[in-house]
């Protein structure tokens, strides 16, 4: 049943690639988001400026364009780097370019989520940590981060669902993910509806799984907290 004229396994491979791409992008994006948020709430005006520039420029330009810029736009930079290191044909792989582009975009939105969450943690807790003799990094790791996670999780979950759909854009630079596999299969079989519709169902299936996982994460992160109900 799931054979789909022999293209079933290919679609599965594509699904796995989509999952890997989305996870790699989230990892990069979370890092950029934490850095961005710390920069934006820091006392240093230069850092605040850099953070503001990052979020407004990245969020003002389409994800599609970031993907193309990361792949085609960096050609001459990489050719130059390549000839410097003795490999004139050096280019970014579609996977790395896609991860960079999607991570960059995720990071810009995550910056805002983290910023809101950081501001939601009372300053007294950091002061208490200092009073107990904890170092800055330890306060961040033991006090700030666990609470940050709890407050930021719903926002980050939404961003991950958006990112999952944006991974389809990386098919434009020929990464063999679901969208690209569906394209290849429909060109070969002349049954575009069948394959694009199957791909749509796969995205919906992944969405459902992610939503269920987020629900579990949120319950875990909220242990001991009473939810405000209206």
């Amino acid at each position: 049943m799931l054979d789909l004229q022999g293209f079933g396994p290919a679609l599965l491979e594509g699904t796995w690639m989509t999952i890997r791409l989305s996870l790699a992008s989230v990892a990069l994006g979370l890092l950029l988001g934490l850095l961005g948020a710390s920069a934006k709430i820091s006392g240093n005006p230069l850092l605040r400026g850099v953070g503001g520039f990052y979020t407004s420029v990245v969020r003002g330009i389409p994800e599609t364009l970031w993907v193309l810029l990361a792949y085609y736009g960096t050609t001459s930079i990489f050719n130059y780097l390549g000839s410097f290191f003795g490999n004139p044909y050096l280019t970014l792989s579609p996977f790395i370019a896609g991860t960079m582009a999607l991570g960059l975009c995720f990071g810009a939105y995550a910056t805002e989520v983290f910023r809101g969450a950081l501001l939601a943690i009372p300053n007294g807790q950091k002061e208490a940590g200092l009073a107990l003799g904890m170092s800055g990094p330890r306060i961040f790791w033991r006090i700030t981060l666990p609470q940050l996670w709890r407050v930021a999780l719903p926002g980050l979950g939404n961003l991950y669902l958006i990112l999952l759909k944006d991974t389809a854009l990386v098919s434009l630079i020929s990464l063999e993910e679901i969208m690209r596999k569906a394209q290849v299969a429909s060109n070969a079989t002349k049954e575009p509806f069948t394959f694009y519709f199957t791909a749509a169902m796969i995205y919906l299936g992944l969405t459902v799984i992610i939503m269920a996982a987020l629900h579990v994460f949120e319950r875990r992160a909220n242990r001991g907290f009473v939810r405000t109900e209206l």
Binding site: I61, T75, S186, K190
Partner: protein, 225 residues
Amino acid sequence: MVARFLPALLDGMLVTLELVAVAIVVGLILAIPLGIARASRHWYVRALPYIYVFFFRGTPLLLQLFLVYYGISQFEAVRESIFWHYLREPYWCALITMTLHTAAYIAEILRGAIQSVPGGEVEAARALGMSRRQALQYIILPRAVRIGLPAYGNEVILMLKASAVVYTITVMDIMGVVKGINSQTYQFELFYLVAGVIYLVITIAFTQLFKLVERWLKIEASQKR
């Protein structure tokens, strides 16, 4: 170099703006009944719009675009119908897909807005003898519009950025024009950056415009309860 292609880029910009403008206006019109139905007390009224919204919010716009442009032609009934005249045109396919896509998002915004109208206000309307329909028409919807407007503004900007995929079915929007220029000049870095600046300028202009509208309508004051 860039100056030579300015007229073409301007044309592309107009195509992008036109697509987005039509999609967000027609999408809003489609979304009003969908959003109201989504907020219904009856599950059988909620069910169909839910499936619609789930499908369009859960799949990538690029995929929806290909489903409409390439996918539908798989069925002979479509190729022989009177709609084929439009459905084989990339421009119309882009417009139809974008409209259906954004309608799903706007319907969700509207549902959220309707559900966050304070319950006391609805009760007050009912206590004054308004029917359910009157309460919806005079109290709930006007209130929901103000609550939902900031989110609608965001959706317009997201749609503007999402529209950058329509070049893949040969629509000559900003990206379509840039793709054409790139295949002539091979200046990928330069013209992708130019496209980026164009999008950035449009999004900033839209953001400011929505801020103005919100100030005119005194949205912030109306949010206080």
